[in-house]
Symmetry: C2
Subunit: 276 residues, 2 copies
């Protein structure tokens, strides 16, 4: 039987709570916190290193199967009282299961990207729910990975993790502060860099060929791509529309752009799909 | 100078507050409440009938231009104190602008649909944020209108209105409780009814022609379309995927399906787009 942490002043709990609250602390420690039985189990079943798991007695009873799987891949397991679990939670009705995980140290090495892959790069994206939604869609559609350029919101924030439904554990994610440097490196690796813009003067994605390895750059929710990013790209592309183009939200634009990127690949390989 | 409502017990305010809270009361009265300066202005500039507008002194100063436009198309204008405005608000930081609007009475007349249009029908959709997102995307992509089949969440709920960014004011929306009856009527009007399903045995949307007037049926977030709906449709279609298909969310699936519906129309009419 595990001992129960009864105090919010427990050092391990205080560290975890600070990881939940602060993006800069997460970066400093190289750690982040996952909340929820299913999401923690997703992390455990992926290549993410689980440092510790905390759960309440109620959670132990309710999510027994999930917690058993998590405990198999975890260095340190600990029961916590409900009022202790509360300081780790960012949800209204917490499931009472939390993992402290290590941020993969591969995240800054663009050189490890698959040179024949299809990638999406998000520049200065600010809304963690949007970021999570893009990750989730990217994984669903078979995109090779995600790049975060400039000052993006934190991919390991509670909101982004929740919206991403665990995609961040399985999808390679790369980060680079300097967009121009990143695009140059990608081009040197053989990628075509395409900048998605709302301008009607850009090339329609309907006439764009995604046959070569491509990185598609998508900009900030309010302001789009920076001038630096647009200039660095090989080409600007746009979603042609009959309706009110300005009202397509960031995650939905990204979904349509990603769909167009993978669409031709799916068509090329009918044996992998259900085309009849 | 307008008088100020100082009491939360004011009858008009109490009615508006009840409209905010209760979907059944909205249906009973045929009225709904819009919150936010921009969204209220959107309603005023569309064909929605504005019964009354309520705003705080702070809002009057801050959103003068919006409020002027709203007042031009409104039967009754009234200042309210901050604490009165609070009982009408469902947001953390309210702008203090609210309109009581009339639900269009055209909403049950499928016969008024454009017989050469492209429509999306949502069956038993439960999440108002998803519903709003689908409406917003539908408008952006130039879909002709939306049908709500079975027991859907309320299109006039505060969350759905906010997520929809005013699309509900401009996009024709039709409602019908009985899916089989609705599909039969649509087929009699000349529409092809397509049911979107996750099954690999369904026809890929990549090989589906949307040249005829079409209604695409999309099901509930968790359970998909009902058997009744699938049987009533002329054909089942699916999004072929290489990735983890199960993790595409309802609003994103709908966006990709709608994009495929309108994609060929955009391609057929290059003069309307920016294809170069």
């Amino acid at each position: 039987m595990l001992e129960i942490i009864k105090s919010r002043k427990n050092e391990a709990v205080k560290l975890a709570a600070k990881l939940v609250d602060s993006a800069s602390f997460r970066r400093k420690k190289g750690l982040f916190v996952v909340e929820g039985a299913r999401l923690c189990c997703d992390a455990a079943l992926s290549n993410i290193e689980i440092i510790s798991v905390y759960f309440t007695l109620a959670a132990q009873a309710k999510y027994e199967a999930y917690i058993a799987k998590i405990m198999q891949r975890c260095h340190f397991c600990q029961l916590v009282e409900e009022h202790v679990a509360q300081i780790l939670s960012t949800t209204k009705s917490s499931q009472g299961v939390f993992c402290v995980c290590r941020i993969p140290d591969e995240s800054h090495k663009l050189i490890n990207m698959n040179p024949s892959g299809m990638y999406v790069a998000l520049e200065q994206i600010q809304n963690p729910a949007n970021l999570g939604a893009v990750l989730r869609t990217a994984e669903a559609l078979g995109i090779s990975g995600i790049l975060l350029l400039g000052d993006c919101c934190d991919i390991y924030s509670p909101k982004a993790l929740r919206a991403g439904m665990g995609a961040v554990f399985r999808l390679p994610c790369y980060m680079e502060k300097d967009t121009a440097v990143a695009v140059k490196q990608l081009q040197n690796m053989g990628f075509t860099a395409m900048g998605a813009v709302p301008a009607e003067t850009a090339q329609s994605i309907l006439t764009t060929h995604f046959s070569k390895p491509t990185v598609l750059l998508i900009g900030n929710e309010g302001n789009g791509l920076t001038e630096t990013a647009i200039k660095a790209c090989d080409i600007s592309v746009t979603i042609p529309m009959k309706g009110r183009a300005e009202s397509l939200n960031a995650a939905t634009s990204a979904a349509i752009l990603m769909w167009e990127m993978v669409r031709s690949k799916i068509q090329q390989k009918p044996e992998e799909t259900s085309c009849r």
